[in-house]
Symmetry: C7
Subunit: 238 residues, 7 copies
C-alpha cells in the first residue's frame, strides 16, 4: 500500500484534483483530509433537548486576544458551525453558509432546514474536487442546529456529509472519540452533554487545556436559538 | 496487458481525460470506473408489476444517524435513483436530474420519460470525458421508475447507459449478480422482487449486514409513484 | 516504423491533438481511429431501390433489455445513422445531427440533403482535432438515407468523410468487407441487400450471433422514409 | 543538420507553434508542411486563355462513390480551389473562402479579386502559427481563377502565398514539376494546358492512374466561369 | 522533516498554491510566509487608552527621501496599517482596504468596524491561496485602530488573522517579541506604549537604528483619530 | 557564453516569451531575431530629397509570377514598408499599419506622422513578447516615408524601433552595411541613393542577382507620394 | 548562496512570476531586475530650484538619427521620465503614465501629483509579478517633476518605488553613484545639478561618451514646466 502510494506520487497522480489515480482515488482530496486531521479539535453532541458544539481555539500566544478568536460561528439564528483545517478556508465557507441561509429566509420567509444548507455547502466543496485551476477546500465543518429536531452534520473536503449523534474532528479526533464511545448516550440532557464535551476536550488537550482556549455554543430544541457558552459557565463545568 | 498498462502509465497517457492511449483507450475514464467498483453496493430489479431498487448505506460509524443517510433518492414522482462511487459526484448529478425532470413537467405538462432523462444526464457525463480542466464523474447511477412500463437504467462514468431487467453495481456487484443469475425471473411480482433483492444484499454484505444499512424504494406500475421501503417492512423480509 | 512510432511516443508527440509529429501526423487522431476499430460492427449497402444499415448491438449481458439498445438512430424522416467506437461520443454527434436537420427543415421548409448534414457533423469533428483542451471524437458514423438518390456516408474521427456504395466499420470490418467484396452488386434490390448484410453480420459474429443483437433500418427510394427492421422480419432472413 | 534537428526535438522546441527554435524556426509549422507533402497530388497551369487545375482524388477503395469525391471545389463563380494535406482542414478553409467571397459580392456588388481572397485565407492560417491552443492547418491550397487575368495561387501552412504560372503540390510534386519544367509554356492554350496537366498526372500516378481518380476544372478568361471537367472530356485527353 | 521537505520539493508539491503536499500542507503559502520573515520589522501595542504601531522603514540609501517613505498607512480616519514582506503586495492590499472602508462609510453612514475590514482583506488573501494562475500575497499586515475599543490585528499570507494585545512581525520579530514579553502590560498608557515600542525597535535595529528610519502612528480611544507620530516627538522618546 | 546559452536551453528558459533567463534575457525574442537574420535582404536610405527602400524578393522558382511578389508595401500615400523574416507575420503587421494610418486620416483629417505609426506597430509587437499563449512576431519591418522630412525606421521583434539615415536587414545585412558604410552620404540625391541601394543589393546577392528579384519604392520630399520603382527604371540603374 | 541559486534553478522555482522559491523569493522578478542592470545609464538629481534627469541614449550605430532617439519622455507638462531596461517595456508604461496623467487633469481640472502617478504605474507593475500568463516588466523608470516641490522617484520591476534626492540606474549605476556620493548636495542650484549629472555621465561612459548620446530635461520649481536640454546647452556644460 505504502509502496503503491509512493509509486503514485512518483507518477504524479496526486498533483491535481482533476485526476484519478489508477486505483480510482482522488489523491489531492485525500491530502486535503490530512490537513483536517492536523486542525484544531472540535466535537458536537446531539442531546435530548438540543445540540452542543465545543472547539479548541488552539491559542498558543499569550498576546492573542482569546475572546476575539472565534472557533464557533453563528450561521443563522438556529444554526452554529465550527471548522477544523485551514482556518481561512473554513471562514470562506461559513460566510457562504450565512449568506445562503439569510437568502433562504428572505425568499421563503422561513428558516432554512439544516440538511439543505449543508448540501449546498457540500456542492461547493464537490466542485473544487472536480474542476482544475483550484485546490479542494482543506477543511471539515461541523454544522449544528435545530430545525424539526436537533441536527449535527459533518462535511469533509470531498463534499460528502453525514448526520451524526456525536462526532469529533481535528487532531484530537481519536481521543475525543474514545471518550464519546464510552460515555455518550442519546438521552443526555443538554447540560450533561456540555459537561461531557468539556470533559472530553480537557482530556484530549491534556496539559495544554485552558478555559480560554475553549469556544462553545448550543441550540436548545425548545427555542431553536443559537447561544454562545460564556466563559463563566464553562468554568463551572470543569 | 499488465505490462502495456504500466507502460502507458509511465508515458502519461492516463493523466487527463482529453487523451487517448495509443491503443485507443481513455484511461482516466477507466480509473473512474474503478472508483465505482469500490463504491457501496446497490441493485435494481424489474418486476411484473413495478421496479425496485435497494442499496447498502455502508454506515460504519454507530454515531451516524442511519435514517438520515440517503442512498436512494427520489428524482421525480415516478423515478428513483441510487449511486455508487463518489457520493458527492452522485449527489450533483441526481440533483441535476431532479431539476431536468421538473423543468420537463413544467414545460410540457407531463412526466418526463425515463430514457430521455437518463440520456441528458449521460450527455453531461460524456462532456466530462472529452473536455479538459475537469475529471470524469466517478459514479454510476441506477435510475428506476415507471413511464409506459417499469424501467431500469444504469449510467457509467463514460456517459454510456443500458436498460436492464436486473442489475447490480458497486463492490458487491459480482456476488449480487450471481444471485440474480440464479433466481431472478421477469415474472416476479414486486413483493417477491423486493425479497430477492434483500436476500441478495444480505448475502453480499455477510456479517456486515444490518437492516439499518439498507435503503430501498419501489415504483409500482399501477400508480407510478415512488415509494420508500420503510424499515418495518424491510425487517419483515428477512 | 514501429520504432519511429515508439520514439514519437517517448517524445510526447502523441499527447494532444494540437500537435503534429515530426513526420506530419496527428497521433491523437490516429489513436481515436483505433477506438473505432474496437467498436461494434456495422455495415451499410446502397441498393437499386434504397439503402440499408445493419449493426451489431454487442449485448453481452442477458439482463440488458435488448430491444432498448439502439444502435441504429433515426436522424430525420429520410436519414438514419449508426456509430462505432465510443457510444456516448456517437450519441452526442447524432443528436447534433438531429437538431441540424430539423433546423434546416424549419428554416428552408425542405428536407436537408444528406451530404450537407454529413459535412456539418464533420466540421464539428475537425475542430476537435485542431483545438486544445479536448480530445477528438472517438467514433465513426455511418449516415444512410435518400435525397435525390440513396446515399451512404462514413465519417471518421478526423472529420473526413466519403460516400460509399457499400461499407463496414468496427471490429468486424475486415470480415464484413471480404463478404461485400465477393457478393455486393449495385443492382441488388433492397430485400436482397438486407439479406446480404444479415448474412455478412452472421458470419462476422460467428457463435456470438443472436438475432436480438442485430439492429437495422432502411430507407426506400420510392418514399424516402426511414423504416426500422423488426425482429420478426430479421428472423425470416436467416 | 539532422543532429541539430534531433537535438531540437529532444529539447521540445517542436511541441507548439508558439515557440521558436534556437535557430529561429517554427518546427510545428514545418511538420505541417510534411503533411502536405504526403497529401494527394494536384497541379495548376496558367494558360494563354484561362487557368486549369487538376487533382488526384486518390480513391483506393472501389466501393467509394468516385464522382462524389470532390477534390476540386468551386469557391465562387470565377474561382476554384484544390487542397493537399489533411482533407478536413482543407474543407474548413475552402468553406471560409466561399463565405468571404460571397460576402464581398453582396457588400461591394462585384466579384472579389483573387489575391485579396487568398490573403484573407492566409491571414487565418498565419494566426494558427502564432497563437497557442491549436495546431497549424495541415494543408496547402491552390486557388485558381480569373479576375483581370488568369490567376494561380498556392498557400502553405505558414500563411505564405505565391502566385504561379504553373505549380504542383502533394506527394507527386517532384514528378509533376519535372514534367512542367520540360513542357509548360505560358503560351499554351487552355485545351493544351489541360492535356499537359492530364499527361503529368498520368505519369506521376503510374499504375495507379484511373480516369475516375481525376478531378478537374478550368476558368476561361473570356467568360470567367468556373467549369468542371467532365469525365467524358477527360477521357478524350488520354 | 528536512528530508521530507526536500523530497516534496523534488516531487514538485511546492510549485503552485493549488496543490496540497501529501502531508496536507500548502507549501507555496509557507514560502510566502518566509518572505514576511525577511521583511522589515514592525510592531503594534494595545494600550489602556489607544493603540500604537511602529515600523522600521529600512532605508539603506542616504539619498532616499526618508520622510516620503511610508511604512505606516492611514486606512481610514480611525484605522492605520503597516505591512511586512513584499512592499508592493502590501500597498495593493492596503489600497483595497482604504476603498472598502470608504465604501462602507458611504453605504452605511458609519465607520467600518475593524474586524470586518480585516476579514474582507483576508478573504482576498485566501482566494490567492486556492486558485491557480497567481501567487499568494507575500505580505503580513498589521491593522490597528479603535472602534468600540482599541484593536490590533495581524493577517498572514494564508488569509488567517488574529487579534493581539501586542505583536511584532518581520525580520526583527523574535527580538521585538522578547522585549514585549518582558515589558508589555495591558495597563500601559499610550505614551508609555509608544516609548516601549520605540525602545524595542531601537534594540532590534541595533547599530542600524536611526530616527529617520522609524515610522509610527497611534489612535487614541477618546477621539478615534489616526495620528502620525512626528519625528520631533519620536526624538524625545529616545 | 555558448556554454551558458546551452545551459539555459537545457533549463528551459527559452521556451516561452513570458520568461526571463537568469541573466535577464528574453530568449524567445532573441530566437525571433534570428529568423529575421535569415530573411530576405532589404535596405533603406534617407536622401537629400526623399527616402528609398529596396528589397530582394528572393524568388527561387521560375514559375512564380515575379511581378506579383510584393516585398515593398504601400502603407499610406506617404509611407512604404518592407519586411524581413516570416513573410506572413510581416503581412499581418503591415495590414495593421495600413488600417491605423487610414483611421488616423479619417479621424484627424491629416496624414499620420510616421513615428506615431511605427510606435503603434511596436506596441503590438511588445505585447507579444510579454504575454503567454502566443509567440513574438518573427519579423523586422522597415518603414520609410516623408512627413515633415524623409523618415526611415526599423522595428525589431522586441518592439524596439530606431530611426536611421541608412539601414539594412535580413541575410545580407552585413554585406549591405559594409557598402553603406563606405558610400552612403546624407547629401545623396534620391537618384543616386537608388543607384547606391541597387549596387549594394547586386553585390550582396552576387550570382543570384536578377532584376526580377528586386522590389523598390521611394517617397520624394517635394510631393510626399509613395512611388514604386518600375522594372524599366531599375534596369537602367545596373 | 550560489549553490542554492543553482539548485532553485534546477528545481524550476524561477520559471514563472507566480511562484515563490522555498526561501521566499520571486526569482523571475529578480531576473527582470538584472535586465535593468544591463540597461543604458540614467540619473536624476533634485536641486534647490528644480529637478533634472539625464540619460545615455547608448547609440552605437552611426546611421541612427541621434536626435530622434528619445530616452527622456515628457509625461505631462510638469513631469518627465526616463527608463532603463527593455526599451519597449518602458515605452508601454510611460505611455500609460501619459494617459493617466491627462485623464486626471481632465477629471479633476488640476495637475496630478507625481507620487499618485508613480503609485498607479507601480500597481500595474505589481500585477505582472503576481499573475500568470505574462512576464514582469523588465524596466526601471525614473519619474521627475515638480508638484508642491521637486520630486524624483524610481520604480523597479517589482512595483516598489522610492523617492530620492539623487539616483542612478542602468549599467553605469555604480560609477554614477560614486560620483553622486562625493559631489551631490541638496543645495545645488539646477544649473550646477545639470553640470554634475553631465560630468557623472561623461565619466561613466568614458571613451564612449558623445554629446549626441545624451538626452536630458529639467523641471524648474518656479514654473513647473518640463524643458528639454538642447544639444547646444549640453555642449557648453562639458
Amino acid at each position: 500500500m505504502q509502496q503503491q502510494e509512493s509509486a503514485h506520487q512518483m507518477m504524479g497522480y496526486d498533483r491535481t484534483s482533476t485526476m484519478f489515480s489508477p486505483d480510482g482515488r482522488l489523491l489531492q482530496v485525500e491530502y486535503a483530509k490530512k490537513t483536517v486531521k492536523q486542525g484544531s479539535s472540535a466535537l458536537g453532541l446531539v442531546c435530548k433537548d438540543g445540540v452542543v458544539i465545543l472547539a479548541d481555539k488552539r491559542i498558543i500566544d499569550k498576546f492573542i486576544v482569546a475572546k476575539s478568536v472565534e472557533k464557533i460561528f453563528q450561521v443563522d439564528e438556529h444554526i452554529g458551525a465550527t471548522a477544523s483545517g485551514i482556518l481561512s478556508d473554513g471562514r470562506i465557507l461559513i460566510e457562504k453558509a450565512q449568506v445562503i441561509s439569510q437568502q433562504h429566509k428572505v425568499t421563503y420567509d422561513e428558516s432554512m432546514d439544516i440538511r439543505s444548507l449543508v448540501k449546498e455547502i457540500c456542492n461547493v466543496k464537490q466542485a473544487y474536487t472536480q474542476y482544475g485551476g483550484a485546490r479542494p477546500f482543506g477543511v471539515s465543518i461541523i454544522f449544528a442546529g435545530v430545525d424539526d429536531r436537533p441536527r449535527l452534520f459533518v462535511t469533509d473536503p470531498t463534499g460528502i456529509f453525514f448526520e451524526y449523534k456525536a462526532v469529533a474532528i481535528g487532531e484530537g479526533e481519536t481521543e475525543l472519540r474514545s471518550i464519546l464511545d464510552k460515555e455518550y448516550k442519546e438521552t443526555l440532557k443538554l447540560e450533561d452533554g456540555i459537561k461531557l464535551a468539556m470533559k472530553a476536550l480537557k482530556k484530549a488537550l491534556g496539559k495544554e487545556f485552558d478555559i480560554d482556549r475553549i469556544d462553545g455554543a448550543y441550540v436548545r430544541t425548545s427555542d431553536k436559538k443559537f447561544v454562545r457558552l460564556e466563559k463563566e459557565n464553562l468554568k463551572k463545568l470543569i
